[in-house]
């Protein structure tokens, strides 16, 4: 069995789950295995949608997320005999799958760009060294594999309705969730956006981000922020791009008043085109940019907004 972790938002499967399904089907075909899904939920879960993608769907209602409960749910589903577990790559999955991989004594291939099976082994490509190096790796079975978002075509439903198996788990109560701090979500999601406009410390104030938002909205993109900006409390952590924030790979990445620290580059250096605006011609960001303007971001940003509006007209 190839087991896919079907991540969802309570009402729909996430796009990343459909990518994981594609990868799982490829492995299943090469290894002569069937594909099953596991749907873990806090409350509502898209059971009907999920069963259209798999022959067997394991479902567990687990309450608030903890790595322990999610790992227990997956391990329970895996008891039917698992060769590979495929999951969308996220901070949470990369934590609970560490538990799962250890429990199964499996090879763990994290955040893979591609994966395939050959001669009973699983191969994958992935980034390392803060996204600077591409590795080709290999593991024997069993294997636990996470799929980097936006790397894989989306799976179509099978047109069948898979059998639903409810999992019952012994209580796991080592972590008690006291308070959830939800962040307001608006516009396009940062990791899925095709255009990302990021503001750095060079913007000088949280108010200056209004213009960043305006440019992002004009380009149908999302707003990003550097660590310095988030540390200063100007923007929420959910917008942070970099090693300790989100990794993005849009077609167009615009860095405004960003110096270009390595930790920041690690989160965006795979973008197709990088644009930098900074008043310091020596800023490291220019070495990593396709296009740049050396100038005062407070003058250039409004001019950019104006120029984009003109183009759209």
């Amino acid at each position: 069995m190839i087991l896919v972790v079907l991540d969802h938002d309570g009402s729909r499967l996430r796009k990343a789950s459909l990518e994981a399904l594609t990868r799982a089907r490829r492995l299943a075909e090469a290894l002569g295995e069937r594909v099953a899904g596991v749907l873990l939920a806090e409350g509502q879960a898209p059971v009907e949608e999920a069963r259209g993608h798999v022959e067997t769907l394991y479902v567990a209602e687990l309450g608030p997320y903890t790595a322990e409960k999610w790992a227990a749910g997956i391990l329970e589903a895996a008891k039917a005999g698992v060769k590979a577990i495929v999951a969308p790559s996220s901070r949470q999955s990369r934590t609970y799958l560490g538990r799962v991989a250890y429990a199964l004594k499996a090879g763990l291939l994290e955040d893979t760009l591609d994966s395939w099976a050959e001669g009973g082994q699983v191969y994958a490509t992935r980034y390392a060294y803060l996204n600077r190096v591409t590795q080709k790796v290999r593991s024997a079975l069993p294997v636990v594999l996470t799929v980097k978002p936006n790397t894989t075509p989306l799976a179509e439903p099978l047109g069948a309705q898979g059998e639903v198996v409810a999992l019952s788990l012994p209580p796991v109560a080592t972590v008690e969730v006291l308070e959830r701090v939800q962040e307001e979500k608006k516009g396009v999601s940062l990791t899925e956006a095709d255009v990302v406009v990021t503001g750095g410390r060079g913007l000088g104030s949280p108010e200056a981000f209004q213009k960043v938002e305006e440019l992002a909205a004009l380009l149908g993109g999302a707003v990003g922020a550097t660590r310095a900006v988030v540390d200063a409390g100007w923007r929420p952590y959910s917008e942070q791009v970099g090693q300790t924030g989100k990794t993005v790979q849009p077609s167009l990445y615009i860095a405004l008043g960003v110096s270009g620290a390595v930790q920041h580059l690690a989160g965006m250096n795979k973008s197709k085109y990088i644009v930098a605006v900074n008043k310091d011609p020596e800023a490291p960001i220019f070495k990593h940019a396709d296009y740049g303007i050396v100038g005062d971001v407070h003058q250039v940003l409004p001019a950019l907004i104006h120029a984009v509006k003109k183009l759209k007209d």
Binding site: G98, A101, Q135, S139, V175, Q182, Y291
Partner: protein, 247 residues
């Protein structure tokens, strides 16, 4: 009380990486205590300063890892344990290597970095927790001891949450948790005399690296002068529209 920081030595992110025979060659790179692990060392020191007890650094990696362990000792950790292993090891294997040592030490809690700056793995915290049969709290930004439990704030994929967790537990660290201190000169002198216990590890990695390549995209580096911001902005938008075709 005993606070353990699990660390590794990695190339500085600013270091130039070279490829030699299909693999990354670190011989010319500056190697440092992983900055993510540094937050764990700092937190162990702060917990010890507040609650008393011992702060122990456990390093995994080749002989050179001893330098990173010495850095942690110079920051103030009491003693070190070095699990010596050459080459790449996946997180499950690393957890297997460290588990017997950590069990024997029987710590109050264990800290390690949220992501490794060389292998980009985020799984060691989870794997260690499973190996020890204890909970894991990932991407921790606040940590307080409350008797047999700890209260912690940590990041989720969306948002953050406060949790209470029974100890012992594993916490993975990140920016925001603290500001790591610099080793002082007296600290560096003292560190030379502190004990580092060497433990060989004879296991092998489940995951094998077959090939590594550096594919840093060549960037166009077309930089415009912004003295006339309107003209520069218009030219940039033209380039993005006509040349790059991304808007």
């Amino acid at each position: 009380m005993k606070f353990i920081a699990v660390i590794r030595q990695v190339p500085d992110g600013e270091s130039r990486l070279r490829i030699q025979g299909d693999r990354v060659d670190l011989s010319g790179a500056t190697l440092i205590l992983d900055q993510m692990d540094e937050y764990g060392v700092e937190e162990a020191l702060r917990l010890k300063e507040k609650h008393g007890g011992e702060a122990v650094v456990v390093g995994f990696g080749p002989e050179r890892t001893e330098e990173a362990i010495r850095t942690a000792l110079a920051m103030g950790m009491d003693r070190g344990i070095h699990v010596v292993y050459e080459g790449y090891a996946d997180p499950v294997t690393v957890a297997e290597a460290l588990a017997p040592i950590l069990k024997e030490e029987s710590p109050t809690l264990i800290l390690t970095g949220g992501q490794q700056a060389d292998w980009d793995s985020q799984a060691l915290g989870g794997a260690l927790a499973e190996a020890l049969g204890v909970p894991v709290v990932a991407w921790t930004t606040a940590l307080e001891l409350e008797g047999e439990t700890a209260k912690a704030k940590h990041d989720l994929d969306e948002g953050a949450e406060w949790v209470r967790v029974r100890l012992p537990a594993v916490f993975t660290t990140q920016q925001g948790l603290n500001e790591p201190r610099y080793p002082t000169l007296p600290g560096i002198m003292k560190a030379k005399k502190k004990e580092i216990k060497k433990v060989p590890f004879g296991g092998g990695s489940r995951v094998e690296i077959l090939q590594e390549s550096i594919q840093e995209k060549t960037r166009l580096q077309k930089v415009l002068d912004g003295k006339d911001p309107v003209a520069a902005a218009e030219e940039l938008v033209r380039l993005l529209h006509e040349e790059a075709k991304v808007i």
